[in-house]
């Protein structure tokens, strides 16, 4: 039996369900429905209702089915729901499935012209003459399909209660205040709104009501947040190759590039290069990072594969770079438009030979912004590649968030010797060797090409070298170098973001998770608590795992490692690093290509705890 959310039950008892339900909009890909969906999300946000929209779209330019789910939650839950109470069925090829997936008491809005009839007695149907409503207006042929999607915006606004003024504001936001498209779309919304008022009788219990829960908040995608973070992080070179779902990250860099122009000249302080492939993208940022730029790329799984050799080189040659992996599903092409956390182990060990990378794991758009800048500081301090693992859900969907906090630390460039610092070091120590561990933290001092000092140059290579940066095939040099790199990795362990921990010693069950699962885990914990299962929670925010993870895992009878990949990769890493805890660490690995639901977590933990 599915455990229903307490809030839903309470609302049902009163006969009205207010601000605690979800709906799905089913359309065709490329039909322009994204505008309508964004407008609905924005308008609900403007009503002060916590809202989250998720796009479940196919790998296709035009024609294949696509779904958009919008969840409102007075309690602020933003995770995906497996079922939604309302279906806006605008795609005839999927309508049967869309209708059959509705729960009893659900609502279906569909075009009247289909003449579908009412196959289910336990749901409410609202049939709307979409074609006739649009026909009244003189819409250019190439815009008609997109504008038709405004009909359901008007219907939803009327049936469930969104003021037209807010729809107009949201349209204005969407079209950047351009009056012509705003008017063209709004006339259709208005017509549908009034047609609904005149012709349909509301017979469902779902209502939007204004709240004050979004005041001061922003709506943004994780990819846009990451782009802003990078621009505030002093990024100077981006090289990339288009790949879903990371493309919009670089698009956003270009969109906001203007905040990084020289005031007097208007010239750019950020170079954005669309490379010929991901190998070249990686090569460009490695060259730039070596020369002293703050360089990054954004890609997804297949791109990471192509970057493997450069990632290994940058680790071994100790070049700071930042690689965003907005993860999608599966090996090869997999499911290119579906979300996943399947690259955790791949990025952590990326490279041939012995490599282990720093991997940051943002769990919110706020953290996408923060790691956007912080990744450069870590890369520079550690002189190594830093990966940031976002995913399609976090990266491409719109999320409510607190306005981003301005970086609270100055830009950290790490151990870079300019001419004067090199002179001082030579005077003080009588030597400087690039890879010598003077401070015991495994991190050497580097000079940048162009440093005007006859002793500044050193030779960078992926070949074996000693601490003087000289070519060496000696085993002892090799082993010493690897040992120092491991020392450096231990330093990384002390510098990466610590986990977020909610711990009460009285509770015996712990949940460990990371990334975009956070909303589902938080909601699941509330549901479980209501059912008498109290849990603690640790959200890992980076690899290597920090000491808090060990303490947390040690101090629970059962630890559930919740993640959205098939193999349970974080659980594998925890077992690898904490072998003594293997027996009470349980992997809850989903990997179904969709954003995680609280229901799945609840069901799985209940099943095990109620044996």
């Amino acid at each position: 039996m599915e455990l229903q959310l307490q809030s839903d039950r309470q609302a049902l008892d009163q006969g009205r369900i207010v601000n605690e339900f979800a709906f799905t909009v089913a359309t065709k890909n490329g039909s322009g429905s994204q505008t309508s969906n964004n407008v609905l999300v924005r308008a609900l946000f403007k009503m002060g209702i916590p809202v989250n929209g998720k796009n479940l779209f196919p790998s296709n330019i035009k024609g294949l089915p696509t779904w958009y789910t919008i969840r409102v939650s007075a309690q602020g839950y933003t995770a995906r729901r497996a079922t939604t109470e309302i279906a806006v069925a605008m795609n005839e090829t999927t309508a049967a499935e869309d209708i059959s997936s509705l729960p009893a008491g659900g609502v279906c809005i569909l075009p009247q012209e289909w003449n579908w009839g009412k196959s289910r007695a336990d749901i409410t149907y609202y049939e709307v003459p979409v074609r006739d409503i649009v026909k009244q207006f003189d819409i250019p042929a190439e815009r008609r399909e997109q504008v038709s999607n405004m009909v359901y915006v008007g219907v939803v606004a009327q049936l469930f209660g969104i003021p037209l003024s807010l729809i107009r504001e949201a349209l204005s936001d969407n079209f950047g205040g351009k009056e012509k498209p705003i008017a063209m779309n709004f006339q259709v919304v208005e017509a549908a709104y009034h047609w609904t008022a005149d012709n349909l009788e509301k017979s469902d219990p779902f209502y939007f009501e204004p709240m004050n829960a979004t005041a001061g908040k922003i709506i943004i995608t994780g990819n846009e947040a990451a782009a802003l973070g990078a621009l505030f992080g002093g990024m100077t070179v981006t090289a990339w190759y288009p790949i879903t779902p990371s493309t919009s990250l670089v698009d956003a860099i270009l969109q906001f590039q203007h905040i990084r122009q020289e005031p007097e000249t208007g010239r750019n302080t950020v170079a954005v290069v669309q490379a010929e492939d991901e190998i070249a993208a990686a090569g460009i940022i490695v060259g730039a990072g070596w020369a002293g730029a703050r360089a990054m790329t954004a890609t997804s799984g297949p791109g990471i594969s192509l970057m493997a050799e450069f990632a290994g080189l940058a680790y071994f040659a100790e070049v700071p770079i930042v690689i965003w992996d907005v993860t999608r599903m599966g090996p090869s092409t997999g499911l290119p438009t579906r979300t996943s956390q399947g690259d955790l182990i791949f990025t952590y060990f990326l490279g041939h030979g012995d490599t282990r990378h720093v991997v940051l794991l943002p769990g919110s758009v706020e953290e996408c912004f923060e790691y956007g800048w912080r990744a450069f500081d870590l890369a520079d301090q550690l002189q190594t590649p830093v990966f940031v693992l976002s995913d399609l859900d976090l990266g491409m969907n719109n999320w409510m968030a607190e306005p981003f906090t301005y970086p609270d630390e100055p830009i950290k460039r790490g151990k870079v010797l300019d001419k004067e610092a090199l002179e001082a070091m030579l005077a003080q120590r009588g030597e400087w060797y690039r890879f010598r561990d003077y401070d015991g933290d495994g991190i050497g001092y580097r000079t940048l090409p162009g440093t005007d000092h006859p002793r500044a140059a050193y030779f960078t290579r992926g070949t074996g070298h000693n601490d003087r940066a000289l070519y060496s095939e000696r085993s002892d040099d090799w082993v010493q170098n690897m040992a120092r790199l491991h020392r450096k990795f231990e330093t990384a362990r002390t510098l990466v973001p610590r986990p977020v921990v909610d711990y009460d010693p009285a509770k015996k069950i712990g949940i460990v998770s990371f990334g975009s699962n956070d909303p589902a885990v938080r909601e699941a914990r509330d549901v479980l608590a209501a059912a008498g299962i109290e849990t603690n929670y640790l959200r890992v925010r980076a690899l290597p795992l920090t000491s808090e993870v060990r303490e947390f895992v040690h101090s629970h009878e059962h630890v559930y490692v919740v993640e959205n990949n098939f193999d349970g990769q974080l659980a594998l890493l925890i077992r690898m690093e904490l072998p003594e805890d293997t027996t009470h660490t349980h992997s809850l690995a989903l990997g179904d290509s969709l954003p995680m639901t609280s229901q799945w977590i609840v069901d799985n933990i209940m099943q095990r705890e109620r044996k």
């Binding site: 090289a239 000249t265 490695v286 060259g287 020369a291 306005p403 830009i411 960078t460």
Partner: protein, 352 residues
């Protein structure tokens, strides 16, 4: 002792000796053509009074790509991965456009694994000298044919090469390069002239230097051998590169007489000139279709034609195309790297 020698030695405009432009001892086979190219780089860098700290040396993988360790020891160097030096050079020169980039690649590195990166480098017009040390064979893996090996050639372990060669100069011209030259490692004068002209070029200067592999590909019937090169090299023109007197003291040469019909003078971006003295047929390297025709003929008839094969007024470099700050990106002050808090506040308000 060293000081005494130094006092007697000739010095250049920077007060450095030729010795100061050397680096580690070569580990290539004795007699390798690549070493002689390294020596020419040392010579011209010394002559021109190149600031070594402004130079970066870049390479891929292979025998050729080892050589940056053997010249200009006071320059930063990056021995990258196989076939991917162009992308590393692109990134490094974007980061700091004041750096003088010298890339060394080979025929495997540029003609096979890195052919894609090579062509995209040219498309972007990344400012650098791109040297291909071309010997038609894979040396470090012991003697496989490369993509520039002669069709029909026979090698001991790998038999007959059944495939036609790729001509990297032809690829470069078609790919949009603005400076394309071919030379022979045995012709030190021509190599030096082309290197100097290449350094003066504001864009990618491709110099394909046939550089015999004494171990795996030096039999007289190979077009990449010493004997073949010495006997068959066809000079397209006599080349000289002049730096005008106003760059005082860097050279004692002054520009010679201009003879119409026999001499072509090409003025370069930095004010220097290349003078091309006619040898045989009329040839103007500024004519693209003539260059393609010549290269096609040379390719078909296995003619070893050397000289400046193609030259055009360079397009904007990648740095210019991207409208980047004049200050190298690596030297921007923090306030230009991180916009002010008000900028973030404004963006956040827009997102509300």
């Amino acid at each position: 002792m060293a000081t005494a020698n130094r006092a007697n030695a000739r010095t250049n405009i920077l007060g450095l000796t030729r010795e100061d432009y050397k680096a580690g001892k070569s580990t290539l086979c004795p007699g390798c053509g690549h070493d002689s190219i390294s020596n020419q780089i040392i010579s011209i860098a010394y002559e021109l009074g190149l600031d070594q700290h402004r130079v970066i040396k870049l390479s891929g993988i292979g025998c050729s790509s080892k050589t940056p360790a053997y010249f200009l020891g006071r320059s930063h160097a990056f021995n990258a991965i196989h076939g991917r030096m162009p992308s590393v050079a692109t990134g490094a020169t974007l980061a700091n456009h004041e750096l003088i980039a010298i890339g060394v690649s080979g025929d495997g590195d540029s003609g096979s694994i890195g052919l894609g990166q090579f062509k995209h480098l040219l498309r972007r017009n990344v400012p650098m000298v791109y040297i291909i040390e071309n010997n038609g064979v894979y040396g470090l893996t012991k003697g496989q044919f490369s993509a520039t090996a002669d069709e029909g050639q026979f090698l001991k372990y790998y038999g007959r090469n059944e495939l036609p060669p790729i001509d990297l100069c032809l690829e470069a011209v078609i790919g949009g390069a603005t400076f394309v030259a071919r030379s022979f490692s045995g012709d030190s004068k021509q190599v030096q002239t082309l290197l100097k002209a290449g350094l003066a070029h504001k864009g990618t200067a491709v110099i394909d230097i046939i550089s015999p592999c004494v171990t795996f590909n030096n039999s007289p019937d190979s077009t990449k051998s010493y004997v073949y090169g010495k006997e068959h090299q066809i000079l397209l023109h006599e080349l000289e590169h002049f730096t005008p007197d106003f760059i005082e003291g860097r050279t004692e040469i002054t520009i010679g007489d201009y003879e119409p019909g026999k001499t072509i003078q090409v003025r370069m971006h930095d004010g220097s000139y290349i003078k091309l003295q006619k040898v045989g047929e009329d040839y103007d390297p500024r004519n693209r279709s003539q260059a393609v025709e010549l290269l096609d003929r040379a390719h078909r008839d296995q003619l070893f034609i050397t000289g400046l094969l193609y030259y055009e007024e360079p397009r904007p470099t990648l740095h210019e195309t991207l409208k980047l700050s004049e200050t190298p990106l690596t030297r921007l002050p923090d306030e230009l790297l991180r916009p002010a808090p008000e900028v973030l506040d404004r963006l956040m308000r827009d997102l509300q």
